[in-house]
Amino acid sequence: MDRSIRAHTALSATVLLALAACSTGGGSGEESEQEPATGDGAATSEPAGGTAEAGGEVVLVTHDSFTLPDELIEGFSQQTGYELTVQTVGDAGALVNQLVLTQDSPIGDVAFGVDNTFASRAANEGVFAPYSPELPEGAEQHALAGEGAEVLTPVDFGDVCVNIDDTWFAEEGIDPPATLQDLTDPTYDGLFVTPGASTSSPGLAFLLATIGEFGEDGWQDYWRELMANGTKVTSGWTDAYTVDFTAGGGDGDRPIVLSYASSPPFTIPEDGGEPTTSALLETCFRQVEYAGVLEGAANPEGGQALVDYLLTDEVQAAIPNAMYVFPVAEDVELPEVWSRWAKVAEDPITVDPDEVEANREEWVREWADIATG
């Protein structure tokens, strides 16, 4: 028995040693040796990189779709001397609610990714501290009205629009739809799929588009007609686009889908040519994403430097490829496929952010009764 215990102890010891060699702790050490300047480890007590004497760490709180190339994240510390740490916290709605909940001891210095459907909630709750930097050319049109403008700075925008599979319509010999009203036409019975407003951020944008288009008292009837015309509601954008849409990578059976104005370039065939899909620019709702310095931030100056940095030409130019949305700065050059194929709505549908804030819950509940009941 003694021997067996020793054998077992030896085995356990070996396993433990092996484990110790490959835990998170081991990884963090190696990684910071390899790339000392990525800002990795700034949240821990590791000494910051050589450029940090200007002011330590800036923590950016954002949603999970946020990405920027590593060069730009390093570029921030090179230009300003602050180390940038990014903290992601769920989707855009969850982001705002977390900011509201943690406003007594904020989790970072700057928040990015609050959009115009949630901006009023954040501004009214006093989550942000006043800071309004000089905006680049063209960004002014995206700024919030009223008090919101003093705390939130527009960084990018994207149009949520109905997309169609042009190839499908050409093959079937059917004229494609062009407007929201067209979608209730029996010609398009059973052809449209959209993510739901209660679980999807583009889904909510589409609901707002219909509210903006048909009015606070008219959208319910529109949605009843839409549902009667065989519209399918999915929980998220992913399964609407990749499962049900005919041109989204799966083999779906619905040639009309709710997506973004920036989606068509992704359907350019491998051998080049034109995208096989297009966005209906009369159906678009514009989502603008804002950044702001958080009230009670540990490093407000660093936070302001980061908001400024997000508006620089280099970050603005990187936004389309990194986050699939348009920069607010007009004179920044877009990637070539974007300037050719990703169109922006000239006259997007809008709903006043204060209205959205006041009615969101009621609208979404009403919508759920009609569309998913």
């Binding site: 490959c22 990405t67 943690t102 929980s235 779906g252 998913t372």
Partner: protein, 559 residues
């Protein structure tokens, strides 16, 4: 430190008792800091918003017709999912742990694959099969609740097969053989000998599956096309979209109450069924397949087919690119610039995943073994017995409470020194360990409870101290379940998404997080890579679990 236990049963706290109390401290501290505190914080925010109690929402929320509907749907779906998983999982466990046939290890591995697949991937695969244009489109089941049920079984089969199988494979065959020799028909043998012996494991597995099903979230929304709401989806909606913390708190309390009730019933049923079991080393070895096994083999085959269909369609699609077969999506996994959606390559994410999983597994096993030892003791005094039962239930709670509540609770309670952990990377393995912990406990506890306490007493009478007695008597039977639990904890950590996505730093994402990022962007290549990454994740998990189980060969030989 520990002395031989005195034989007197009157002393209040024996050294053994003291040892057990010490053993309880660490797991309890974890439970309080990483579960009770965050959940309590969220409940208080909801019910005591401005420092004064405001319970006006309670009757209002409970009175809504919608609440009743949602509760009924949640409970009945979770119940049906549990029963179905057990009905289908037990024959499979029999085949995989009691019969010897070539390829058994492979089938065991396949059954585990779904367990780590991210919900969003499973949603896409199920819907691709069931959408009108899919292979099974003719069934017309897209968006039907039956599909949600099928997904519950798909995910949880591994829980049943492994929990029950682990118990079953250690059972001595002689009791069954004696019954058969005495003229019992196979059905009678099963009902009077096997089933009672397995009952604690069945109840353990059922409890876990029920908790998993009742807090399932992504599957319900994706496969039900938003038509069905559960308590969990309502809490998510109220918390993340409407910031209606009052409503969310009321529903969380409701959830808590239901889970506590379910655990109490399960514990009661389990305790009545527990018995000391004969375990035979060589006599528990699996036997060759016989002709009379055909019915059970057929059921098991059908169940494996249910698992294989979505899994193989996932693999097939991950191997297709540009209209033909290609490994392109797999080679892209190593390339950090393969997709604009990602900051790191998928292989780097895999490294992060594995490192985190090692940490999470160590935490879960240390805590899990302590808890399992604790809850398998049966003190003589009724008060102490109740305390043990209470502990047992407490460590199951994290599975039954909304991840959204816990996650938001982290942010508002762990926000001040010395516990300002909100942005700390250690939260990720800890959160994963909290999910794995109940699985570890439920794998180990039934086995420990089935050890005849008289064996321990005999060892003590022969002069062994409590630690030594426990080691000599319990360690040998525990080796297999311990390895199984380790593998399971590792798999849970590798596949965990909800808490990880909430807490992981974007420069160090895990594979499920990366998959989610890829699949949320347009582009056939992003989708292809996501599917390839999901396949890779599944294969890595299965391989690691296979390796862990192989360790047993040497370990068992030592005893």
């Amino acid at each position: 430190m520990l002395r031989p236990a005195p034989l007197s049963r009157r002393s209040h706290i024996t050294p053994t008792g003291l040892g057990l109390v010490l053993l309880a401290l660490l797991p309890l501290a974890f439970l309080v800091v990483f579960f009770a505190l965050p959940v309590g914080g969220m409940l208080l925010r909801g019910l005591r918003p401005e420092g004064t109690w405001d319970l006006s929402a309670v009757p209002e929320v409970l009175g809504r017709a919608r609440t009743l509907r949602v509760v009924i749907f949640t409970v009945s779906m979770a119940g049906a999912g549990t029963v179905l998983s057990l009905l289908l999982g037990v024959p499979l466990a029999h085949v995989l742990y009691r019969l010897a046939f070539p390829g058994r290890g492979l089938v065991r591995a396949v059954v585990v694959m779904p367990f780590v697949l991210p919900t969003v991937v499973v949603g896409v695969m199920f819907r691709s099969l069931l959408a009108p244009s899919g292979l099974l489109g003719w069934l017309g089941l897209d968006g039907h609740w039956v599909v949600i049920l099928a997904a519950f079984v798909f995910f949880n089969l591994a829980v049943v097969v492994r929990t029950v199988g682990g118990m079953w494979e250690g059972l001595d065959r002689r009791a069954e053989e004696s019954a058969a020799a005495l003229g019992a028909r196979p059905w009678q043998v099963w009902r009077t000998v096997t089933l009672p012996a397995l009952a604690p494991a069945l109840i353990s597995a059922g409890t876990l599956v029920f908790l998993f099903c009742s807090t399932a979230f992504g599957v319900v929304l994706t496969l039900g096309g938003l038509r069905y709401g559960t308590v969990e989806t309502e809490i998510y909606l109220l918390t993340t979209q409407f910031l209606d913390l009052q409503g969310a708190a009321v529903l969380s309390l409701l959830q808590l109450g239901a889970v506590v009730m379910m655990l109490a019933v399960a514990a009661r049923t389990r305790t009545r069924r527990e018995q000391a079991l004969q375990r035979g080393g060589a006599r528990s070895a699996p036997r060759p397949v016989r002709r009379s096994d055909l019915p059970v083999l057929l059921v098991a085959g059908a169940v494996v087919a249910l698992v294989l269909l979505p899994v193989s369609s996932l693999v097939v699609r991950s191997l297709q690119a540009g209209g033909g077969w290609s490994l392109r999506h797999y080679t892209a996994l190593a390339d950090p610039d393969a997709s604009q959606a990602l900051r790191v390559s998928v292989t780097t994410a895999m490294e992060n995943s594995l490192r985190t999983a090692v940490d999470a597994t160590v935490i879960a096993m240390v805590l899990g073994v302590s808890v399992a030892v604790l809850v398998s003791r049966r003190p003589r005094r009724a008060g102490a017995r109740r305390l043990v039962a209470l502990l047992d239930g407490a460590f199951m709670l994290p599975l039954g409470i909304s991840a959204v509540t816990v996650g938001f609770g982290f942010l508002i309670t762990l926000d001040r020194p010395p516990l300002d952990l909100r942005t700390s990377p250690v939260l990720v393995p800890i959160a994963q360990a909290m999910v794995a912990l109940p699985l570890v406990v439920r794998t180990l506890a039934p086995v420990l409870r089935s050890v005849d306490p008289r064996l321990r007493q005999a060892a003590a009478a022969l002069g062994a101290n409590p630690l030594r007695a426990a080691w000599t008597v319990e360690a040998p039977v525990l080796v297999r379940p311990l390895l199984a639990a380790t593998g399971f904890a590792f798999a849970v950590s590798l596949g965990e998404f909800g808490a990880t996505a909430f807490l992981a730093r974007p420069d160090r994402p895990t594979v499920p997080v990366v998959i989610y990022e890829l699949i949320s962007r347009p582009g056939a290549d992003n989708l292809g890579m996501a599917l390839a990454a999901a396949t890779l994740l599944s294969l890595v998990t299965v391989t690691v679990m296979g390796l862990v189980e192989r360790l047993r060969v040497h370990a068992v030989g030592a005893f």
